[in-house]
Symmetry: none
Subunit: 190 residues, 4 copies
């Protein structure tokens, strides 16, 4: 139906944007994105009022996708360390499975074209993670810091870990474990 079709075209644009931005950066021309998506130059602007809007929607969309990956099999009844480890593994898996998404997300994360509103939207739905991290760091060094600080530590360490895995693919398992241990020591050790 029309609704589906419309969503399809919107998605095609977002996918094309992801792939092109991964390669060319945020300067990837809208015309190229449209072409890669199989729509006309003009159509792109019926789905997204302007390029900044496209970037912001893409940012939110990627955050949502990642969140869904995390919570699809989140061990709600597990102990915090299991939960943290689940989060860690999903981040690593997602990042390694979807290099363009990871690259594009990295670009959007540091871009000043992403509005405060989008950033806020990107943080919605992570409350369970915040609660888990609160418990994880409750007795650690960072017990007096907000849980977002610990979350950010986990995120940047997972990025470093992925970079290392890509550099030394044979050590993938060792890096995955070492990275997590480093995180755990950093935030949970008493």
């Amino acid at each position: 139906m029309a609704q589906t079709k419309k969503t399809d075209r919107r998605n095609a644009i977002l996918v094309a944007a992801t792939n092109l931005i991964a390669i060319q950066g945020l300067g990837a021309p809208t015309a190229k994105i449209a072409k890669a998506a199989g729509v006309s130059d003009g159509s792109l602007f019926t789905y997204f009022p302007d390029k900044d809007d496209l970037l912001n929607q893409l940012y939110v969309e990627l955050k949502i996708e990642l969140r869904e990956a995390v919570f699809a099999a989140y061990p709600r009844s597990g102990i915090p360390k299991q939960q943290a480890r689940h989060l860690w593994d999903v981040l690593i898996d997602w990042g390694l499975d979807e290099p363009p998404k990871r690259r594009t997300m990295a670009q959007l994360n540091v871009s000043d074209r992403i509005t405060a509103t989008s950033k806020q939207a990107g943080m919605d739905g992570w409350e369970d993670i915040a609660a888990m991290m609160q418990k994880v760091s409750a007795k650690g060094l960072l017990k007096d810091r907000p849980s977002t600080f610990s979350i950010k530590i986990l995120l940047v360490l997972s990025e470093l870990t992925m970079d290392s895995i890509l550099e030394f693919p044979k050590e993938a398992t060792a890096y995955r474990q070492a990275g997590f241990d480093a995180f755990w020591n950093a935030v949970a050790k008493t």
Copy 2:
């Protein structure tokens, strides 16, 4: 005199570039940079053959400046933990004292316009840090990982720490300490 003048103009361009890139990103127009530096559009290109070259020289220059800040008072005879702490403090001080430099460095670090040669030049002179980090992590979790992994951990944690200090200036001292402790636990704890 002539020498001084020439260096002055080159420096003025680099400073202007730093300030503009911090705000506008790497897309900051050369014309704006030139104007901010008080030179004509064309003059910029007598100092730097093209924009990429300007970016690369700026990258190397910032790396050198940071390295000099680190080694100006580096405790060569101290124990590794003192040395690591010195590095930590200089990074935090430099980053907080010079926000535009920090922002611009961050952009250049992830730009694909920085050549392998520039990256290499940016890494020269850090051998002592690598040696120190080797000792620091010799008995820790990461003892089987290259010391560059530990260095990167220190760098990203210092970035997070600075972000938090800017967000909560009143907690500056606490974050500075907590960040370092997290780093230490991550890489040095047995």
Copy 3:
């Protein structure tokens, strides 16, 4: 209609380019060409990817036009001398009727911006002329030289003839005849 319109704009650009290059040389700015064609600066580049491409297409186009002028009434069943004379007359007529085209063609002919491919394209379709010239010079002085040598002689002599006609318009007929006779003596005389 749409087809017509598009072709119209492309032609307008080629015509404008011809007229401006005739006056200003190959350095004629694309902006001026666009304005003269009644299109925007940017539009020119939707029809021609870059200026070199415009020049190459213009070259080929002019060669085609000249070829069509020659073969529109080519006396295929005539004797070689009649055919050569026909070629001569068409060259002179075309060059005198379209001074900008002649001037621009002259510039393009000696430009190193014209690719080998374009040059080849410009030579396609002249096989009948080569064959005719072969017969013309078969018993002459140049019988052991390739027919292209004779063709070039005809071309440069026609250029000289046109220059002289422009200088002495009253002697037009005499020059046209004298030039052809000189050519004939040069290549066909035994």
Copy 4:
């Protein structure tokens, strides 16, 4: 002495201009010419008020040099055909011996930056050639055309001949002879 020195610098600039224009065309930057001549950017403009003036002086200089080559051993007491052949041989020799000069002269010949005054200056001193050519063509086809027409024919045929010699070096002698014969038939044959 100062006079000599000044002339040296001027000559160095003209030589450098010749070599660069041969390769890069008339767009060769004055800065490059100055550098190749071993003088400063600014000095070039103390010898030549502007670039057009440099080009015009270069044009005249090359014409003078060629004229001197022709008249250095001109057979004044020879018969016209010997004289014409001498001219022909000097043109071919000079052009093949000095490719940059030939290329640059060719560019200047068709440039609209050469003034009428320069063109006139370039034609001074060729009176003996004009007189010779008058005799050569007195009974030929072109007897009612000015001798400049015949001279131009000789010039363009010598250019074609040189091009062919460069293309087929093994046939150098044959082309040199065939070219001259073609010229002779064109202008002198009754």
